[in-house]
Symmetry: C2
Subunit: 356 residues, 2 copies
Amino acid sequence: MAQAIAAARLGAGLTYRNPLVGAVIVKNDRVLAVGHHVGFGHAHAEVDAYQHVTHPEDVIGSTMYVTLEPCSHYGKTPPCAHQLVRWGVKEVYVAQQDPNPLVGGKGIAYLREHGVQIHVGLMETVARQLNRAYNFYYEYQRPLVTVKVAQSLDGKLSLNDGKRTYLTDMVANADVDHLRATQQAILIGSQTAIDDDPRLLVKERVAYPPVRVLLDRRNRVSHTSRLWQTNEAPLWHFVTGKESTKGIEDKDTRRTFKTSEWSIDKVIQTLSDQGVQSVLVEGGAHIQDAFLRVGLVDQLIIYQVPEIFGGRSLASFASRADSMRMRFTPVTIEKCGNATKMAFIRPSLAADWGLD
Amino acid sequence: MAQAIAAARLGAGLTYRNPLVGAVIVKNDRVLAVGHHVGFGHAHAEVDAYQHVTHPEDVIGSTMYVTLEPCSHYGKTPPCAHQLVRWGVKEVYVAQQDPNPLVGGKGIAYLREHGVQIHVGLMETVARQLNRAYNFYYEYQRPLVTVKVAQSLDGKLSLNDGKRTYLTDMVANADVDHLRATQQAILIGSQTAIDDDPRLLVKERVAYPPVRVLLDRRNRVSHTSRLWQTNEAPLWHFVTGKESTKGIEDKDTRRTFKTSEWSIDKVIQTLSDQGVQSVLVEGGAHIQDAFLRVGLVDQLIIYQVPEIFGGRSLASFASRADSMRMRFTPVTIEKCGNATKMAFIRPSLAADWGLD
């Protein structure tokens, strides 16, 4: 199973909304083949492994180790559970049952009904870490929300001189770029769009660039902004409007979402309805605080640079609301360019993430 | 010399304004004795080592390794340089010349004039770290200023509910107590004295508890405060007044410092005049920012707890002044109870601290 988990990771960045999955076919204590889900719309791990077997007839009576329950529905590829039976696989070890209700338990049931010996739960905690956002999305029915903060030692996001404040260096920026590349959506508020005029594009080559979500209730962001002028990634524009619209396609990759009032909850629900499994919230302070306030900070990643801004510089998570106290569980801390990178999660996720 | 440096550390917490010093007497490749400065007003390292020699006549023709230049002036003890000559020491290795102008170079000159072979600079960088504040005080003619901050992940010092916010747990508090115990003074502003009503006493048993400095320009702090009501450590009260007074002793350990206007520079100058070699600035936000603004943050120690306060909670180093950008050099980062403890220094100190 450890080999199947390692194989699964080869699909990182390519499977989009599909999970990373690895599979190993074993017979008489010999590995016949290793496979992984190679990309969205491409072969599933089980099929990929089967295709790597030298003599297909060897698979008859074999054992398969697979990190996620084989699928049982016709999607972009025929259901794996059916194939396994057809190939004559005798025994299957599954690390994790699929949280997707389309599959959940049905693949396992199909295999059992067709006389395959099946064992569920081997190395489950490790295997689950392959697909944190995927699992979260199906288990909590909403995207995993990561808030990213780049701040000074005194927790400040920017000076108060009206210009964009650059905090992190090239090395840390590359790390942020990679963080973005692993997300299905990146969200900013209108003030950040106006002040910083970012593109929110990912430099890393990715098969599916994250959707850029602009929360711009009062429709303040200029169409000459760089966000608007670039179309290398989708731009979803959330504005307040009388009639409700869900994703009118303005032009190419641009869609407008309208409703009479956008709360943070409603924005996340809309992204959820669109199938978005992970969102990176990039700021500014008011947006950070708004997510905190409704309990929608699942993961918090701070890049802290060794400077003090002092005075009336803008603090992270600052707003006019009452202060509150939200505890997080530390996950990692590491040097990252000129910054110290610290990752935290909501304490209730510690068990899911294998950290308790 | 490494052995002398290790010996020097045995005096930690006992030498007060005197430096930590270690000495080793060697003859024919054998260690005759090891000594250290055992405490303020007690034997210097050289004398302590001599007292540990079994046969004093063995010292004739010996070599001494001493971490700091032997003294040449009559203070609380007779000058060591004179003693070394009298004992017949033939050769002396000194790690660091004494930065104290009363001694600086004179001990070395005395030994050289009296026919002792002398070598200066062996393991100097390491030896200098024994006495960072002592060296700083004589080299920069003012105390080493350490600003200590306990804050949330978003850089907040306290909630805005008017009550004291406790951030750090027992383990981190014990570390803060030890930090205080290594300082000659602890400084707070009147607002912190009023809001938190701290005692600023050190729980760790120390020979010389740090002076508690209360910067209370408008004389706002009540005499019923815990700071006022405790006398286990000196309390120096800095208030604005028409006549200037330097340390009128009110009662036991309490002194009042008055002048027409107290700037941060003037406060530090006054502490310097009083011989204070190290000051720990404990807050609040305005005081932190005031020290930052005049460039008087030599060392910065942050205890950051894994919580977010958000909203209008009070940010560290916050004031109404313009924001600025002050860079620091990271020194250490470690887990400390519920906090991450991070130490930084002014970049120009990196060489002095052996960090470049």
